[in-house]
Amino acid sequence: MKQDNAMTTPFVDQYDGLKPALPGHALPWMTALRDRALDSFAEAGLPTQRRESWKYTNLRGLKQLELTEQALTPQPISIDRAPSLLPDGSAYRVVFVNGGFRSDLSDLAGLPEGVTLGSVAELAESQPQRVEALLAAHRDTNDQPLVALNTAFMRDGLLLQLEAGRKLDKTLEVIHVNSAENGVFAHNARNLISLATGSEATILEHHIGLNGAAYYINAANDVTLAEGATLRHYRIQAEGENAVHTSTMNGQLAGGSFYDGFTLSIGAGLSRNETSMKLTAAGARCHLNGGYLMRDKQHCDTTTVVDHLSPQTSCREVFKGVLDDRSRGVFQGRIVVHPQAQQTDGHQLNKVLLLTDTAEINAKPELEIYADDVKCSHGCSAGEVDHDALFYLRSRGLSEDSAKALLIQAFLAESVSEISDEALHDVFLNKISDWLAI
């Protein structure tokens, strides 16, 4: 793949200068890992639209950010309270501000035995073998330049590891607060999540941009679920309106494990949320659901790849998009059923409401089926708010705006209802109402 130098070199050129200050510099394996990742990133380059899976999303805007060495160095900002979505004490809380862990804002009191939870940077110091093993679990980034970029420059992120049979007794709220009040910056959050046999956790992850200034977040998430483990992973991407947010998740799901994912994207000028799940043994289940609500000239790309590598695995995807003004949505959903993966159950749905003539959706479902005994379906639709329903509501006195809002809310509620932790439905429904109220 030919690289686009103008976008790639600002990162590559700064690597040597920044390297000594990156966490884990004293660890030979870490440095070797970063060096290899940088080489691979330099060779592949920042993804461009020439790459098939990036056909509809263009990172050229990053050029305007002029990411200097200073921009790639953490800039602490003054914040004395994290904007939490859950009542104090009802959840464990891990807070990152401009990419750096803030223990003073976090709340890890009363963690059960067998749970390791904290900052990747801190744990790389205190328990390097643990971090090494977690990073090694997903060494094969199968041609993901953004993950390579992340590995080369990562500084911090969430580490959650549960021993066999452990259950995180409260929801874990992970808050990533970003503010460009001290100038443009970029950071590469790396989140490592590994649940051993039969363990269970619920994460509510919230990305918030505090003001309109531009910044770039390139997150990578490594998720490993062992036999029978359950991870409920719910995310809200509400970055600042000029931010660029790319997130890549690589997951490995063992037999009988269950990943229940929901991502609500409302922020960032440009965002891409890519999820790649490998279902490696019978009974592995994966739910990738979400909603994207965009206005003005926002762009939101949802890309999923689910690999069914074993018989009797299942995935279910329900995404709902609402696109206003001149915003643009991209949905690429690939389901690959490998030859050995008989009795696969795959279901994918992407439904979009276009609120204007100038909003646009590019949808590309892809089913690649190499086994014969499978049940796979996909559906895509894009349309306007139902005219008859709108008149019905207005004829009962609702204003056009509230009638529309009610219909949009109802449209999105279908995807929110997929969230298996019902206690968290309101968090998402409230975010949606907030978005509609603007």
């Binding site: 008149f391 019905y392 509501l393 006195g397 449209f411 509620a413």
Partner: protein, 249 residues
């Protein structure tokens, strides 16, 4: 209270209403009958403000105000209510949410205080009781999976809650069993007062046994071709519309 003067309306360039004159005084019940496709629903839609109709001539005054320039929600606020020939299904919105928003919107328009959840539940319990409608319908999504008759009852419940001064019923009686028919009649009769009026569009005499009209009009090919008292309805039931369809052409 409702004055329709020489109303002409087109749909996609085709003339559907071709000069309607109709005056309804407070306290009156009017029935409109007429063959399929004669423009009955179109008239109801134009009065309630559905888009897609081009009014090319004439006016509609409601309590002296020209309502043709008003949004549908303003007309609802003014007291106009349409029970739909085909009530719309709205997945994901519960009846309770919908009716509460509707009532509060209308109350706000009328300068009344909005009701909180408790006050609203009190209103809705009272109305369902008066109409003999089961509360099960309230938790369900608006009209989704409702039988034809349940949808019509649901519209009548909305009407009872919004307390309009002009209720227009577009074939609300079609496909109803006797009990449901009584619910509809109860709903209308509950609202009857010297200040309120009702316009009933129907194909059948049997509803008019329960809601007795002061006037019956025959609409054919976009015009009112005959008006009379309740005996006209009985006559139509016997003779059909052949006479009028020829006449209007």
């Amino acid at each position: 209270m409702l004055e329709i003067k020489n109303l002409h309306a087109d749909v996609e360039g085709k003339a559907i209403l071709r000069g309607i004159d109709l005056t309804i005084q407070p306290g009156e019940v009017h029935a409109i009958m007429g063959p399929n496709g004669s423009g009955k629903s179109t008239l109801a839609h134009v009065i309630s403000g559905r888009d897609g109709y081009d009014v090319t001539e004439g006016e509609v005054l409601y309590r002296g105000k020209n309502i043709l320039d008003m949004d549908p929600e303003e007309r609802a606020g003014e007291g106009v209510f349409l029970a739909f020939q085909y009530p719309v299904e709205i997945p994901g919105v519960t009846n309770t949410t919908f009716m509460k928003e509707a009532l509060n919107s209308v109350r706000k328009y009328r300068g009344e205080d909005e009701l909180d959840a408790m006050q609203f539940m009190k209103v809705i319990r009272e109305k369902t009781k008066q109409l003999g409608i089961s509360n099960d319908m309230l938790k369900r999504a608006v009209n989704v999976g409702f039988s034809g008759g349940e949808k019509k009852r649901n519209d009548i419940l909305q009407m009872a809650i919004l307390e309009p001064s002009l209720a227009i019923l577009d074939e609300t009686d079609s496909g109803l069993d006797i009990d449901a028919l009584k619910t509809v009649a109860d709903g209308v009769n509950l609202l009857r007062s010297p200040e309120n009026a009702t316009l009933v569009i129907t194909h059948y005499q049997r509803l008019l046994d329960y809601i007795v009209p002061d006037f019956v009009h025959v609409l054919a090919k976009g015009k009112i071709v005959k008006s009379g008292d309740k005996s006209l309805a009985q006559e139509l039931e016997k003779k059909g519309y052949a006479e009028f369809t020829d006449q209007a052409a």
